[in-house]
Symmetry: C2
């Protein structure tokens, strides 16, 4: 294969193939050769020209997938002037979460948490970042400042809700539960969040229902 005038296209192809494989087969279970085999004609040399290690490929692929999702979710907070409480509800409304759902529906990560352990670790770490430096904690603090939220432990509440939302409500690395069970989880999470001053709104139920439908339709 000759030299490509637009190497970003090559990089994109590599990351697309890599993400798909890392999701379905896991990090360990995916070899560089597996990735190369999906890039017709390309060789390992090309891959190692653009990335210096397997780990870097994984991180780049993950970032590439997550960045637009995070951006979209953040953008949901920008329109109009909302109170902190309104923004919080917005964060868990369907229109904020749907792009993320659709990404995972395309990727279909392995339901075995051990196989998906590296993705799980990223989601775990991401939950803390999301609450601390990301959008959740800032929104809560904004709500406290404007009087729309009364929360005594904003940081802790943000972390707990983030963790449960990402690793429990989104059962990425677990077998898909029946719909009523998923809704029960959402209801339960909403109750727990309310106890520490966070009103996630009724929309979280609709969001959960929508998630379930998307994944069920994708033959999860």
């Amino acid at each position: 294969m000759g030299r490509n005038k637009y190497p970003e296209e090559t990089v994109a192809k590599i990351l697309d193939a890599a993400l798909k494989l890392f999701c379905t087969q896991g990090y360990e279970g995916t070899s560089i050769q597996d990735i190369v085999d999906r890039l017709d004609g390309m060789t390992k040399g090309a891959v190692y020209h653009h990335f210096k290690s397997k780990e870097e490929i994984f991180n780049a692929a993950f970032d590439r997938a997550m960045t637009p999702i995070v951006e979209h979710r953040r953008s949901m907070l920008g329109v109009g002037n909302m109170t902190g409480a309104q923004k919080l509800k917005r964060l868990y409304a369907p229109e904020s979460v749907v792009p993320q759902i659709e990404l995972w529906a395309r990727m279909r990560p392995a339901a075995d948490p051990v196989k998906s352990s590296r993705l799980l670790a990223m989601q775990y770490q991401g939950s803390f970042n999301e609450s601390a430096d990301g959008y959740l904690l800032p929104v809560i603090e904004e709500g406290i400042a404007d009087g729309s939220i009364a929360c005594e432990c904003p940081r802790e509440a943000a972390e707990a809700v983030s963790l449960l939302a990402n690793l429990w409500l989104l059962p990425l690395f677990r077998p898909l539960e029946p719909k009523d069970r998923m809704l029960a989880r959402a209801q339960c999470l909403a109750q727990m969040a309310a106890a520490v001053g966070l009103d996630l709104g009724e929309e979280v139920l609709q969001t959960t229902a929508q998630i379930w439908d998307v994944w069920d339709r994708a033959g999860w």
Copy 2:
């Protein structure tokens, strides 16, 4: 090295070395040779005589470490006749949790969740098992039966509390937070649990404080 009259000792040595290495260096970061090097004189042949794969070694090492802990925690529920609510509090009291703490204090798993991803995955999976088939959900249901607990969504509450306790209150794969932050987490979790009908008791604060002290003393 000659043939050992008591091969269980050999197995134990292998698992001890393996657990320590898997904790500190991660699963990927530990080679069979690394393990062999810690078993003076022994060779790879011995290891593969007793175990058929690296994965089996990991699982055996993990099980070996967790079994007595789970047993101890379960045994805390056996003495005297307690209501479900009392048993629930007991589950999060210091005397139930301390052995687990001390194990991890000895092992010192890597604070990087990616490096520790396989252990994280086990803890994640374990949280669901603990609530579903383990002791938590049965205790809650016992409490509902004897009228000492009023919980509308026992399964969901158990899962959520289990997850938060194992992956958030025990910051195994995260840098150790200041003591007041840890206590704030415990307080927050107790509030959230109370909202779905689970009274973890004041003891969860003492437990958390004790965890912090142990790990701080271990130079975490």
